[in-house]
Amino acid sequence: MKPSLSHPALLSALGVGAVLLISGACSSASKTGGTSSPSTAPAPSGLPTLSSALPFDVTVPSTPPPTLASLQHDFDLMSWQTFVAMNWPVLPNGQPNPSQQPGQHGDNATVWETWKDASEIFLPNGAPPAPWGSPIAPPSFLPAACRGLFKPGMRVLSQVGKTPNVLTESIQPFNTGPLIDQNGRYARFDILVNQSMFETIVSNQLYNKQAQQGIKSVVFDCGDATKQQVGAIMVKSAWKILSPAEKQSGRFHTLEALIYTPPSTTPPIKENCERATVGLVGFHIVHKTLGAPQWVWSTFEQVDNCPTEGVPPSKASYNFYNKNTPAAPINTPPPRPWDPNTTEPPARRPQIVRIAAIDTATQQLNASWQAALRAVNPRSVWQYYELVSTQWPTAPAPACDVATSAPANMSGTPAPQFLANTCLESYIQGKVPNTSSSCIECHLNATTTSAAFSDFTYLLQRAQ
Protein backbone atom coordinates (compact mmCIF):
# COMPACT_ATOMS: atom_id res chain seq x y z
CA MET A 1 0.00 0.00 0.00
CA LYS A 2 1.64 3.18 -1.09
CA PRO A 3 1.61 5.91 1.55
CA SER A 4 -0.71 8.69 0.69
CA LEU A 5 -1.07 12.04 2.30
CA SER A 6 -4.39 13.75 2.08
CA HIS A 7 -5.30 17.25 2.97
CA PRO A 8 -8.61 18.25 4.44
CA ALA A 9 -10.53 20.52 2.14
CA LEU A 10 -13.76 22.25 1.89
CA LEU A 11 -16.59 20.00 1.04
CA SER A 12 -18.02 21.53 -2.06
CA ALA A 13 -20.57 19.00 -3.20
CA LEU A 14 -23.78 20.86 -3.46
CA GLY A 15 -27.24 19.70 -3.59
CA VAL A 16 -30.62 21.06 -2.99
CA GLY A 17 -31.82 21.63 0.46
CA ALA A 18 -35.45 22.10 1.22
CA VAL A 19 -35.33 25.15 -0.95
CA LEU A 20 -32.85 27.06 -2.68
CA LEU A 21 -30.01 28.20 -4.57
CA ILE A 22 -27.05 26.58 -5.95
CA SER A 23 -23.82 28.27 -5.07
CA GLY A 24 -22.04 26.65 -7.96
CA ALA A 25 -18.90 25.46 -6.23
CA CYS A 26 -17.58 22.33 -7.82
CA SER A 27 -16.46 19.20 -6.04
CA SER A 28 -12.78 19.88 -6.54
CA ALA A 29 -12.52 23.00 -4.45
CA SER A 30 -9.16 24.13 -3.25
CA LYS A 31 -8.36 24.56 0.38
CA THR A 32 -9.49 28.12 0.21
CA GLY A 33 -12.19 27.63 -2.38
CA GLY A 34 -15.89 27.60 -1.79
CA THR A 35 -17.72 29.94 0.48
CA SER A 36 -15.86 29.24 3.72
CA SER A 37 -12.97 27.36 5.17
CA PRO A 38 -13.63 23.94 6.60
CA SER A 39 -15.38 24.08 9.92
CA THR A 40 -13.39 22.49 12.66
CA ALA A 41 -14.71 22.02 16.15
CA PRO A 42 -12.02 22.37 18.84
CA ALA A 43 -11.63 18.97 20.41
CA PRO A 44 -11.75 18.33 24.12
CA SER A 45 -8.47 16.92 25.23
CA GLY A 46 -7.76 13.48 23.80
CA LEU A 47 -10.79 13.38 21.54
CA PRO A 48 -10.82 13.51 17.74
CA THR A 49 -11.29 16.84 16.04
CA LEU A 50 -14.57 17.19 14.21
CA SER A 51 -14.29 18.72 10.75
CA SER A 52 -16.64 19.42 7.87
CA ALA A 53 -13.85 18.67 5.39
CA LEU A 54 -14.19 15.48 3.40
CA PRO A 55 -10.90 13.58 3.18
CA PHE A 56 -9.46 13.28 -0.30
CA ASP A 57 -7.92 9.93 0.48
CA VAL A 58 -6.70 7.80 3.35
CA THR A 59 -3.84 9.28 5.35
CA VAL A 60 -1.09 6.81 6.12
CA PRO A 61 1.73 7.95 8.41
CA SER A 62 5.10 7.60 6.73
CA THR A 63 6.63 5.89 9.76
CA PRO A 64 6.62 3.23 11.09
CA PRO A 65 6.10 0.84 8.15
CA PRO A 66 2.41 0.07 7.84
CA THR A 67 0.89 -3.21 8.90
CA LEU A 68 -2.48 -4.70 8.12
CA ALA A 69 -3.75 -3.54 11.51
CA SER A 70 -2.34 -0.03 11.21
CA LEU A 71 -3.77 0.43 7.73
CA GLN A 72 -7.14 -0.83 8.93
CA HIS A 73 -6.99 1.84 11.61
CA ASP A 74 -6.09 4.49 9.01
CA PHE A 75 -9.05 3.53 6.86
CA ASP A 76 -11.37 3.36 9.87
CA LEU A 77 -10.24 6.86 10.78
CA MET A 78 -11.01 8.01 7.25
CA SER A 79 -14.47 6.46 7.62
CA TRP A 80 -15.19 8.46 10.75
CA GLN A 81 -13.85 11.69 9.25
CA THR A 82 -16.07 11.12 6.24
CA PHE A 83 -19.10 10.25 8.39
CA VAL A 84 -18.75 13.45 10.40
CA ALA A 85 -18.18 15.65 7.36
CA MET A 86 -21.13 14.17 5.50
CA ASN A 87 -23.44 14.56 8.50
CA TRP A 88 -22.38 18.14 9.16
CA PRO A 89 -25.30 20.58 9.52
CA VAL A 90 -26.13 21.95 6.11
CA LEU A 91 -26.94 25.40 4.85
CA PRO A 92 -29.78 25.94 2.41
CA ASN A 93 -27.22 26.02 -0.40
CA GLY A 94 -25.92 22.57 0.43
CA GLN A 95 -22.68 23.75 2.02
CA PRO A 96 -21.69 22.68 5.54
CA ASN A 97 -22.73 25.27 8.10
CA PRO A 98 -19.56 26.82 9.54
CA SER A 99 -21.36 28.09 12.62
CA GLN A 100 -22.69 24.73 13.75
CA GLN A 101 -21.39 21.31 14.65
CA PRO A 102 -23.09 17.95 14.16
CA GLY A 103 -25.72 17.35 16.80
CA GLN A 104 -25.35 20.82 18.27
CA HIS A 105 -29.13 20.97 18.49
CA GLY A 106 -29.57 17.23 18.92
CA ASP A 107 -30.19 16.39 15.30
CA ASN A 108 -29.60 18.22 12.04
CA ALA A 109 -30.24 18.07 8.32
CA THR A 110 -27.07 16.84 6.67
CA VAL A 111 -24.85 17.67 3.72
CA TRP A 112 -25.26 14.26 2.08
CA GLU A 113 -29.03 14.49 2.12
CA THR A 114 -28.75 17.30 -0.42
CA TRP A 115 -26.99 15.00 -2.89
CA LYS A 116 -28.69 13.42 -5.91
CA ASP A 117 -30.97 10.47 -5.29
CA ALA A 118 -30.90 7.58 -7.76
CA SER A 119 -34.55 8.29 -8.59
CA GLU A 120 -33.61 11.80 -9.71
CA ILE A 121 -30.91 10.49 -12.06
CA PHE A 122 -32.46 7.49 -13.80
CA LEU A 123 -35.66 8.81 -15.32
CA PRO A 124 -38.24 7.27 -17.62
CA ASN A 125 -37.16 7.02 -21.25
CA GLY A 126 -33.60 7.81 -20.20
CA ALA A 127 -34.36 11.50 -19.94
CA PRO A 128 -31.49 13.67 -18.71
CA PRO A 129 -31.64 14.51 -15.02
CA ALA A 130 -32.03 18.06 -13.80
CA PRO A 131 -28.71 19.80 -13.23
CA TRP A 132 -26.96 19.56 -9.89
CA GLY A 133 -28.54 21.94 -7.46
CA SER A 134 -32.00 21.89 -8.97
CA PRO A 135 -34.89 21.75 -6.50
CA ILE A 136 -35.95 18.18 -5.79
CA ALA A 137 -38.99 17.50 -7.92
CA PRO A 138 -41.17 14.53 -7.13
CA PRO A 139 -39.58 11.33 -8.42
CA SER A 140 -40.86 10.41 -11.81
CA PHE A 141 -42.64 7.30 -10.65
CA LEU A 142 -44.77 9.11 -8.10
CA PRO A 143 -48.39 9.03 -9.12
CA ALA A 144 -50.50 12.13 -8.79
CA ALA A 145 -52.12 10.85 -5.62
CA CYS A 146 -48.77 10.84 -3.86
CA ARG A 147 -47.67 14.18 -5.17
CA GLY A 148 -50.18 15.84 -2.86
CA LEU A 149 -48.22 14.48 0.09
CA PHE A 150 -44.86 15.56 -1.29
CA LYS A 151 -43.13 18.63 0.05
CA PRO A 152 -40.03 20.16 -1.56
CA GLY A 153 -36.93 18.64 -0.06
CA MET A 154 -38.73 15.59 1.25
CA ARG A 155 -37.03 12.26 0.76
CA VAL A 156 -38.99 9.58 -1.01
CA LEU A 157 -38.17 6.09 0.13
CA SER A 158 -39.46 3.17 -1.86
CA GLN A 159 -36.77 0.52 -2.07
CA VAL A 160 -37.58 -2.36 0.26
CA GLY A 161 -34.84 -4.81 -0.44
CA LYS A 162 -31.23 -4.97 -1.40
CA THR A 163 -32.15 -5.35 -5.04
CA PRO A 164 -34.13 -2.62 -6.78
CA ASN A 165 -37.35 -4.56 -6.67
CA VAL A 166 -37.35 -7.46 -4.30
CA LEU A 167 -41.00 -8.03 -5.05
CA THR A 168 -40.38 -9.10 -8.61
CA GLU A 169 -40.10 -12.73 -9.44
CA SER A 170 -36.48 -12.50 -10.50
CA ILE A 171 -34.31 -14.95 -8.68
CA GLN A 172 -31.49 -13.39 -6.76
CA PRO A 173 -28.13 -15.06 -6.22
CA PHE A 174 -28.24 -14.37 -2.51
CA ASN A 175 -31.05 -15.04 -0.09
CA THR A 176 -31.84 -11.37 0.18
CA GLY A 177 -35.21 -10.12 1.18
CA PRO A 178 -36.95 -7.32 3.02
CA LEU A 179 -35.81 -6.19 6.41
CA ILE A 180 -38.68 -5.90 8.87
CA ASP A 181 -38.23 -4.22 12.22
CA GLN A 182 -39.54 -5.26 15.60
CA ASN A 183 -42.55 -2.98 15.11
CA GLY A 184 -43.48 -5.06 12.06
CA ARG A 185 -42.70 -2.30 9.56
CA TYR A 186 -40.53 -2.73 6.49
CA ALA A 187 -37.21 -0.92 6.38
CA ARG A 188 -36.57 1.32 3.38
CA PHE A 189 -33.40 2.09 1.48
CA ASP A 190 -32.09 5.01 -0.48
CA ILE A 191 -29.06 5.59 -2.71
CA LEU A 192 -27.46 8.99 -3.37
CA VAL A 193 -24.34 10.19 -5.16
CA ASN A 194 -22.18 13.26 -4.79
CA GLN A 195 -21.61 15.86 -7.44
CA SER A 196 -18.46 14.24 -8.85
CA MET A 197 -20.21 10.96 -9.47
CA PHE A 198 -23.32 12.70 -10.76
CA GLU A 199 -21.35 14.76 -13.27
CA THR A 200 -19.61 11.66 -14.64
CA ILE A 201 -22.99 10.00 -15.13
CA VAL A 202 -24.40 13.06 -16.86
CA SER A 203 -21.42 13.90 -19.05
CA ASN A 204 -21.29 10.31 -20.36
CA GLN A 205 -25.09 10.02 -20.59
CA LEU A 206 -24.94 6.95 -18.38
CA TYR A 207 -28.50 7.69 -17.26
CA ASN A 208 -29.63 6.55 -20.72
CA LYS A 209 -29.75 2.88 -21.73
CA GLN A 210 -29.26 3.65 -25.39
CA ALA A 211 -26.23 5.82 -24.72
CA GLN A 212 -24.74 3.10 -22.50
CA GLN A 213 -24.51 0.82 -25.55
CA GLY A 214 -21.50 2.74 -26.78
CA ILE A 215 -19.65 2.71 -23.46
CA LYS A 216 -16.87 0.14 -23.14
CA SER A 217 -15.89 1.03 -19.58
CA VAL A 218 -16.82 3.48 -16.88
CA VAL A 219 -14.28 5.27 -14.70
CA PHE A 220 -15.42 7.57 -11.94
CA ASP A 221 -13.09 10.24 -10.58
CA CYS A 222 -10.69 9.40 -7.77
CA GLY A 223 -10.19 11.47 -4.68
CA ASP A 224 -6.76 13.02 -5.10
CA ALA A 225 -4.96 15.11 -2.50
CA THR A 226 -2.55 16.63 -5.02
CA LYS A 227 -5.47 17.87 -7.10
CA GLN A 228 -7.51 18.75 -4.01
CA GLN A 229 -10.25 16.61 -5.48
CA VAL A 230 -12.76 14.66 -3.39
CA GLY A 231 -13.68 12.14 -6.11
CA ALA A 232 -16.80 10.05 -6.46
CA ILE A 233 -18.86 9.14 -3.40
CA MET A 234 -22.00 7.06 -3.28
CA VAL A 235 -24.18 6.54 -0.22
CA LYS A 236 -26.71 3.89 0.66
CA SER A 237 -28.93 4.55 3.66
CA ALA A 238 -31.35 2.31 5.52
CA TRP A 239 -34.30 3.76 7.41
CA LYS A 240 -36.97 2.46 9.74
CA ILE A 241 -40.36 4.05 10.42
CA LEU A 242 -40.21 5.28 13.99
CA SER A 243 -42.76 4.65 16.67
CA PRO A 244 -43.68 7.62 18.89
CA ALA A 245 -41.41 6.30 21.62
CA GLU A 246 -38.52 5.91 19.19
CA LYS A 247 -39.03 9.45 17.93
CA GLN A 248 -38.84 10.70 21.50
CA SER A 249 -35.76 8.64 22.33
CA GLY A 250 -33.40 11.01 20.54
CA ARG A 251 -31.30 8.03 19.45
CA PHE A 252 -31.89 8.35 15.70
CA HIS A 253 -31.11 10.83 13.01
CA THR A 254 -34.58 11.42 11.60
CA LEU A 255 -36.28 12.96 8.67
CA GLU A 256 -39.79 13.31 7.32
CA ALA A 257 -40.15 11.05 4.35
CA LEU A 258 -42.71 9.92 1.87
CA ILE A 259 -42.90 6.15 2.04
CA TYR A 260 -44.04 4.94 -1.34
CA THR A 261 -44.98 1.37 -2.22
CA PRO A 262 -45.45 0.78 -5.94
CA PRO A 263 -48.28 -1.54 -6.98
CA SER A 264 -47.72 -5.17 -7.86
CA THR A 265 -49.89 -7.93 -9.25
CA THR A 266 -47.70 -10.87 -8.32
CA PRO A 267 -47.89 -10.83 -5.37
CA PRO A 268 -50.88 -8.48 -5.12
CA ILE A 269 -49.74 -5.27 -3.45
CA LYS A 270 -51.67 -2.04 -3.37
CA GLU A 271 -50.01 1.19 -4.27
CA ASN A 272 -49.60 3.29 -1.17
CA CYS A 273 -48.08 6.56 -0.01
CA GLU A 274 -47.67 7.64 3.54
CA ARG A 275 -45.76 10.35 5.29
CA ALA A 276 -43.71 9.14 8.21
CA THR A 277 -40.82 10.03 10.44
CA VAL A 278 -38.02 7.64 9.69
CA GLY A 279 -34.83 6.98 11.59
CA LEU A 280 -31.45 6.19 10.05
CA VAL A 281 -30.38 2.66 10.98
CA GLY A 282 -27.71 1.81 8.40
CA PHE A 283 -25.33 3.88 6.33
CA HIS A 284 -22.86 2.85 3.61
CA ILE A 285 -20.33 5.38 2.40
CA VAL A 286 -18.35 4.38 -0.69
CA HIS A 287 -15.55 6.69 -1.76
CA LYS A 288 -13.25 6.25 -4.74
CA THR A 289 -9.72 7.51 -4.15
CA LEU A 290 -6.34 7.34 -5.83
CA GLY A 291 -5.04 5.27 -2.94
CA ALA A 292 -8.02 2.93 -3.24
CA PRO A 293 -9.32 2.87 -6.83
CA GLN A 294 -11.42 -0.15 -5.85
CA TRP A 295 -13.10 2.36 -3.54
CA VAL A 296 -13.18 2.62 0.23
CA TRP A 297 -16.25 0.91 1.66
CA SER A 298 -17.30 2.28 5.05
CA THR A 299 -20.39 1.09 6.85
CA PHE A 300 -22.11 2.45 9.94
CA GLU A 301 -25.07 1.28 12.00
CA GLN A 302 -27.33 2.70 14.66
CA VAL A 303 -26.17 1.15 17.91
CA ASP A 304 -29.50 -0.50 18.80
CA ASN A 305 -29.86 -2.62 15.68
CA CYS A 306 -29.09 -6.07 17.00
CA PRO A 307 -26.78 -8.04 19.31
CA THR A 308 -23.69 -9.93 18.21
CA GLU A 309 -23.92 -13.68 17.91
CA GLY A 310 -22.52 -15.36 20.98
CA VAL A 311 -22.68 -12.21 23.11
CA PRO A 312 -25.58 -11.99 25.58
CA PRO A 313 -27.95 -9.22 24.50
CA SER A 314 -27.44 -6.33 26.88
CA LYS A 315 -29.94 -3.76 25.69
CA ALA A 316 -33.57 -3.49 26.73
CA SER A 317 -34.67 -3.79 23.12
CA TYR A 318 -33.32 -3.82 19.61
CA ASN A 319 -34.48 -2.53 16.25
CA PHE A 320 -34.24 -5.89 14.50
CA TYR A 321 -33.97 -8.51 17.27
CA ASN A 322 -36.49 -9.84 19.76
CA LYS A 323 -34.98 -10.67 23.13
CA ASN A 324 -38.06 -12.70 24.02
CA THR A 325 -37.46 -15.22 21.25
CA PRO A 326 -33.76 -16.05 21.51
CA ALA A 327 -34.29 -19.42 19.86
CA ALA A 328 -35.80 -17.98 16.70
CA PRO A 329 -33.82 -18.81 13.56
CA ILE A 330 -31.43 -16.00 12.87
CA ASN A 331 -30.85 -13.95 9.74
CA THR A 332 -33.63 -15.61 7.80
CA PRO A 333 -36.06 -13.57 5.71
CA PRO A 334 -39.74 -14.21 6.35
CA PRO A 335 -41.62 -16.48 3.97
CA ARG A 336 -43.21 -14.78 0.99
CA PRO A 337 -45.38 -12.98 0.17
CA TRP A 338 -43.77 -9.73 1.23
CA ASP A 339 -46.09 -6.74 1.38
CA PRO A 340 -44.48 -3.51 2.57
CA ASN A 341 -47.93 -2.07 3.32
CA THR A 342 -48.42 -4.69 6.01
CA THR A 343 -47.48 -4.41 9.63
CA GLU A 344 -46.09 -7.91 10.05
CA PRO A 345 -46.90 -10.01 13.14
CA PRO A 346 -44.05 -10.96 15.48
CA ALA A 347 -43.62 -14.40 13.93
CA ARG A 348 -42.76 -12.84 10.57
CA ARG A 349 -40.23 -10.33 11.87
CA PRO A 350 -36.72 -11.56 11.06
CA GLN A 351 -34.40 -12.17 13.99
CA ILE A 352 -31.22 -10.36 13.02
CA VAL A 353 -27.88 -10.80 14.74
CA ARG A 354 -24.42 -9.62 13.86
CA ILE A 355 -22.29 -12.58 12.85
CA ALA A 356 -18.83 -10.99 12.80
CA ALA A 357 -18.17 -8.92 15.90
CA ILE A 358 -16.85 -5.42 15.42
CA ASP A 359 -13.07 -5.52 15.91
CA THR A 360 -11.79 -4.35 19.28
CA ALA A 361 -9.68 -1.65 17.65
CA THR A 362 -12.68 -0.35 15.72
CA GLN A 363 -14.78 -0.39 18.88
CA GLN A 364 -12.15 1.73 20.61
CA LEU A 365 -12.13 4.17 17.72
CA ASN A 366 -15.92 4.28 17.82
CA ALA A 367 -15.87 5.13 21.51
CA SER A 368 -13.55 8.09 20.97
CA TRP A 369 -15.55 9.54 18.08
CA GLN A 370 -18.84 9.00 19.87
CA ALA A 371 -17.38 10.84 22.85
CA ALA A 372 -16.33 13.71 20.59
CA LEU A 373 -19.84 13.94 19.18
CA ARG A 374 -21.34 13.74 22.66
CA ALA A 375 -19.04 16.56 23.76
CA VAL A 376 -20.79 18.84 21.26
CA ASN A 377 -24.13 18.08 22.87
CA PRO A 378 -24.95 15.26 25.32
CA ARG A 379 -28.19 14.79 23.37
CA SER A 380 -26.52 14.53 19.98
CA VAL A 381 -28.11 11.78 17.90
CA TRP A 382 -24.79 11.16 16.18
CA GLN A 383 -23.28 9.51 19.26
CA TYR A 384 -25.64 6.58 18.61
CA TYR A 385 -23.92 5.49 15.44
CA GLU A 386 -20.98 3.13 15.16
CA LEU A 387 -18.57 2.09 12.47
CA VAL A 388 -18.83 -1.63 11.70
CA SER A 389 -15.67 -1.64 9.61
CA THR A 390 -14.06 -0.33 6.44
CA GLN A 391 -13.21 -2.53 3.50
CA TRP A 392 -10.26 -1.41 1.36
CA PRO A 393 -7.98 -2.91 -1.28
CA THR A 394 -4.68 -4.16 0.13
CA ALA A 395 -3.30 -4.44 -3.41
CA PRO A 396 -4.84 -1.32 -4.93
CA ALA A 397 -4.86 -0.80 -8.66
CA PRO A 398 -1.96 1.45 -9.73
CA ALA A 399 -4.31 3.88 -11.44
CA CYS A 400 -7.84 5.19 -11.16
CA ASP A 401 -8.92 3.02 -14.11
CA VAL A 402 -9.01 -0.37 -12.41
CA ALA A 403 -10.02 -2.43 -15.43
CA THR A 404 -7.06 -1.23 -17.47
CA SER A 405 -4.40 -1.02 -14.78
CA ALA A 406 -5.16 -4.15 -12.73
CA PRO A 407 -6.99 -6.63 -14.96
CA ALA A 408 -5.68 -9.73 -13.19
CA ASN A 409 -6.66 -8.64 -9.69
CA MET A 410 -9.51 -6.23 -10.03
CA SER A 411 -10.67 -6.78 -6.47
CA GLY A 412 -7.34 -5.59 -5.09
CA THR A 413 -7.40 -8.33 -2.40
CA PRO A 414 -9.73 -6.56 0.01
CA ALA A 415 -9.40 -6.34 3.78
CA PRO A 416 -11.32 -7.35 5.70
CA GLN A 417 -12.28 -10.15 3.39
CA PHE A 418 -15.91 -10.02 4.42
CA LEU A 419 -18.01 -7.10 5.57
CA ALA A 420 -21.73 -6.84 6.18
CA ASN A 421 -24.10 -4.27 7.63
CA THR A 422 -26.86 -6.00 9.59
CA CYS A 423 -29.47 -3.69 7.99
CA LEU A 424 -28.22 -3.80 4.44
CA GLU A 425 -26.73 -7.29 4.12
CA SER A 426 -28.77 -8.92 6.85
CA TYR A 427 -29.05 -12.34 5.29
CA ILE A 428 -25.65 -12.77 3.67
CA GLN A 429 -23.35 -12.33 6.63
CA GLY A 430 -20.60 -14.91 6.97
CA LYS A 431 -17.16 -16.02 5.79
CA VAL A 432 -17.76 -18.14 2.73
CA PRO A 433 -15.92 -16.81 -0.35
CA ASN A 434 -18.19 -15.78 -3.20
CA THR A 435 -21.28 -16.21 -1.04
CA SER A 436 -20.95 -14.15 2.12
CA SER A 437 -21.03 -10.39 1.91
CA SER A 438 -17.92 -8.68 0.63
CA CYS A 439 -18.51 -5.20 -0.72
CA ILE A 440 -15.73 -5.24 -3.30
CA GLU A 441 -16.12 -8.85 -4.42
CA CYS A 442 -19.84 -8.35 -5.07
CA HIS A 443 -19.59 -4.94 -6.68
CA LEU A 444 -16.78 -6.15 -8.93
CA ASN A 445 -19.56 -7.84 -10.90
CA ALA A 446 -21.44 -4.59 -11.52
CA THR A 447 -22.02 -3.65 -15.13
CA THR A 448 -23.94 -1.23 -17.27
CA THR A 449 -27.06 -2.35 -19.08
CA SER A 450 -24.78 -3.29 -21.99
CA ALA A 451 -22.59 -5.51 -19.77
CA ALA A 452 -19.60 -3.14 -19.63
CA PHE A 453 -17.74 -2.89 -16.33
CA SER A 454 -19.36 -0.04 -14.40
CA ASP A 455 -16.67 0.74 -11.82
CA PHE A 456 -18.17 -1.03 -8.85
CA THR A 457 -21.64 0.47 -8.98
CA TYR A 458 -24.90 -1.28 -9.82
CA LEU A 459 -26.65 2.07 -10.18
CA LEU A 460 -26.09 2.24 -13.90
CA GLN A 461 -28.36 -0.80 -14.32
CA ARG A 462 -31.25 1.55 -13.53
CA ALA A 463 -30.89 3.43 -16.80
CA GLN A 464 -34.02 3.30 -18.89
Partner: protein, 151 residues
Protein backbone atom coordinates in the same frame (compact mmCIF):
# COMPACT_ATOMS: atom_id res chain seq x y z
CA UNK B 1 8.40 -19.17 23.17
CA UNK B 2 10.30 -21.97 21.40
CA UNK B 3 11.39 -21.59 17.80
CA UNK B 4 9.17 -23.53 15.42
CA UNK B 5 10.94 -26.27 13.46
CA UNK B 6 10.16 -24.50 10.19
CA UNK B 7 9.72 -20.77 10.79
CA UNK B 8 7.38 -18.91 8.47
CA UNK B 9 10.06 -16.81 6.72
CA UNK B 10 12.06 -19.95 5.92
CA UNK B 11 8.94 -21.75 4.73
CA UNK B 12 8.10 -18.85 2.42
CA UNK B 13 11.64 -18.60 1.05
CA UNK B 14 11.70 -22.35 0.44
CA UNK B 15 8.27 -22.19 -1.20
CA UNK B 16 9.48 -19.41 -3.51
CA UNK B 17 12.44 -21.52 -4.57
CA UNK B 18 10.26 -24.60 -5.14
CA UNK B 19 7.41 -22.87 -7.01
CA UNK B 20 9.33 -20.16 -8.80
CA UNK B 21 6.89 -17.56 -7.47
CA UNK B 22 8.14 -14.48 -5.67
CA UNK B 23 8.09 -14.66 -1.88
CA UNK B 24 6.34 -11.31 -1.70
CA UNK B 25 3.46 -12.76 -3.67
CA UNK B 26 3.31 -15.91 -1.56
CA UNK B 27 3.35 -13.94 1.69
CA UNK B 28 2.59 -10.28 1.01
CA UNK B 29 3.59 -7.76 3.69
CA UNK B 30 -0.04 -6.63 3.93
CA UNK B 31 -1.96 -9.87 3.87
CA UNK B 32 -5.64 -10.18 4.76
CA UNK B 33 -5.82 -13.85 3.76
CA UNK B 34 -2.81 -15.44 5.44
CA UNK B 35 -2.57 -18.35 3.03
CA UNK B 36 1.11 -18.96 3.84
CA UNK B 37 0.22 -19.43 7.50
CA UNK B 38 -2.56 -21.82 6.54
CA UNK B 39 -0.25 -23.93 4.44
CA UNK B 40 2.46 -23.95 7.10
CA UNK B 41 -0.08 -25.04 9.67
CA UNK B 42 -1.15 -27.88 7.39
CA UNK B 43 2.46 -28.92 6.91
CA UNK B 44 3.17 -28.76 10.63
CA UNK B 45 0.13 -30.89 11.39
CA UNK B 46 1.17 -33.61 8.96
CA UNK B 47 4.96 -33.75 8.99
CA UNK B 48 7.15 -34.46 12.02
CA UNK B 49 8.95 -31.62 13.71
CA UNK B 50 12.24 -33.42 13.17
CA UNK B 51 11.70 -33.58 9.42
CA UNK B 52 10.63 -29.95 9.26
CA UNK B 53 13.67 -28.94 11.25
CA UNK B 54 15.90 -30.91 8.90
CA UNK B 55 14.18 -29.24 5.96
CA UNK B 56 14.80 -25.79 7.40
CA UNK B 57 18.42 -26.48 8.22
CA UNK B 58 19.13 -27.98 4.80
CA UNK B 59 17.57 -25.04 3.01
CA UNK B 60 19.37 -22.46 5.09
CA UNK B 61 22.74 -24.22 4.79
CA UNK B 62 22.94 -23.56 1.05
CA UNK B 63 23.20 -19.90 0.12
CA UNK B 64 21.65 -20.22 -3.35
CA UNK B 65 17.93 -20.96 -2.90
CA UNK B 66 17.61 -22.74 -6.24
CA UNK B 67 20.53 -25.03 -5.46
CA UNK B 68 19.05 -25.65 -2.04
CA UNK B 69 15.76 -26.61 -3.63
CA UNK B 70 17.51 -29.02 -6.00
CA UNK B 71 19.30 -30.71 -3.10
CA UNK B 72 16.10 -31.00 -1.12
CA UNK B 73 14.09 -32.43 -4.02
CA UNK B 74 16.74 -35.11 -4.52
CA UNK B 75 16.68 -36.18 -0.88
CA UNK B 76 14.69 -39.38 -0.25
CA UNK B 77 13.03 -37.98 2.88
CA UNK B 78 12.89 -34.26 2.22
CA UNK B 79 12.03 -34.57 -1.47
CA UNK B 80 8.50 -35.92 -1.01
CA UNK B 81 7.82 -33.26 1.62
CA UNK B 82 9.03 -30.57 -0.74
CA UNK B 83 6.75 -31.89 -3.47
CA UNK B 84 3.81 -31.78 -1.07
CA UNK B 85 4.70 -28.15 -0.40
CA UNK B 86 4.68 -27.45 -4.11
CA UNK B 87 1.30 -29.13 -4.52
CA UNK B 88 -0.31 -27.25 -1.66
CA UNK B 89 0.75 -23.94 -3.16
CA UNK B 90 -0.19 -24.87 -6.71
CA UNK B 91 -3.39 -26.80 -6.06
CA UNK B 92 -4.57 -25.66 -2.61
CA UNK B 93 -4.79 -29.30 -1.60
CA UNK B 94 -2.73 -31.35 0.82
CA UNK B 95 -1.02 -34.47 -0.46
CA UNK B 96 0.72 -36.69 2.07
CA UNK B 97 4.37 -37.15 1.15
CA UNK B 98 3.94 -40.92 1.50
CA UNK B 99 0.98 -41.05 -0.92
CA UNK B 100 1.88 -38.43 -3.50
CA UNK B 101 -0.91 -39.10 -5.97
CA UNK B 102 -3.81 -38.93 -3.50
CA UNK B 103 -5.08 -35.57 -2.34
CA UNK B 104 -6.24 -35.67 1.26
CA UNK B 105 -8.29 -32.49 1.29
CA UNK B 106 -8.60 -28.96 0.01
CA UNK B 107 -6.93 -26.98 2.76
CA UNK B 108 -9.65 -24.32 2.94
CA UNK B 109 -12.08 -22.30 0.85
CA UNK B 110 -9.44 -19.60 0.65
CA UNK B 111 -6.83 -22.13 -0.49
CA UNK B 112 -9.18 -23.25 -3.25
CA UNK B 113 -9.44 -19.81 -4.73
CA UNK B 114 -5.85 -18.73 -4.03
CA UNK B 115 -4.14 -21.79 -5.49
CA UNK B 116 -1.47 -20.74 -7.95
CA UNK B 117 -2.37 -23.07 -10.79
CA UNK B 118 -5.24 -20.79 -11.79
CA UNK B 119 -2.99 -17.76 -11.90
CA UNK B 120 -0.34 -19.65 -13.87
CA UNK B 121 -2.93 -20.57 -16.46
CA UNK B 122 -4.15 -16.94 -16.47
CA UNK B 123 -7.58 -18.10 -15.47
CA UNK B 124 -9.67 -18.57 -12.35
CA UNK B 125 -10.96 -21.44 -10.23
CA UNK B 126 -14.33 -22.94 -11.02
CA UNK B 127 -17.01 -21.12 -9.05
CA UNK B 128 -14.93 -18.06 -8.28
CA UNK B 129 -13.68 -15.30 -10.54
CA UNK B 130 -11.67 -12.19 -9.88
CA UNK B 131 -12.52 -10.88 -13.34
CA UNK B 132 -15.35 -8.62 -14.31
CA UNK B 133 -18.43 -9.76 -16.17
CA UNK B 134 -17.80 -10.53 -19.82
CA UNK B 135 -14.11 -11.30 -19.37
CA UNK B 136 -14.46 -14.45 -21.48
CA UNK B 137 -14.88 -12.36 -24.60
CA UNK B 138 -11.38 -10.91 -24.27
CA UNK B 139 -7.90 -12.47 -24.17
CA UNK B 140 -6.73 -12.92 -20.58
CA UNK B 141 -4.28 -10.46 -19.08
CA UNK B 142 -0.61 -11.37 -19.62
CA UNK B 143 1.08 -13.84 -17.27
CA UNK B 144 3.18 -11.15 -15.64
CA UNK B 145 -0.03 -9.59 -14.31
CA UNK B 146 -0.75 -12.82 -12.43
CA UNK B 147 2.63 -14.14 -11.33
CA UNK B 148 5.72 -12.40 -10.03
CA UNK B 149 8.65 -14.74 -10.57
CA UNK B 150 11.00 -15.53 -7.71
CA UNK B 151 14.10 -13.37 -7.99
Amino acid sequence: MSTPPLPLPVFVALSAALTGVNAAQLNPPIDPIGIANQYLATLTANVSAATLSNLAQTFQSISNPNQAATVILADPVLGPVARSIMKVWLLGSWYNPATPTQAVNVVSAQAYKESLVWKIMQSHPMGYSMFTFGYWAEPPPPLNQFIQPAS
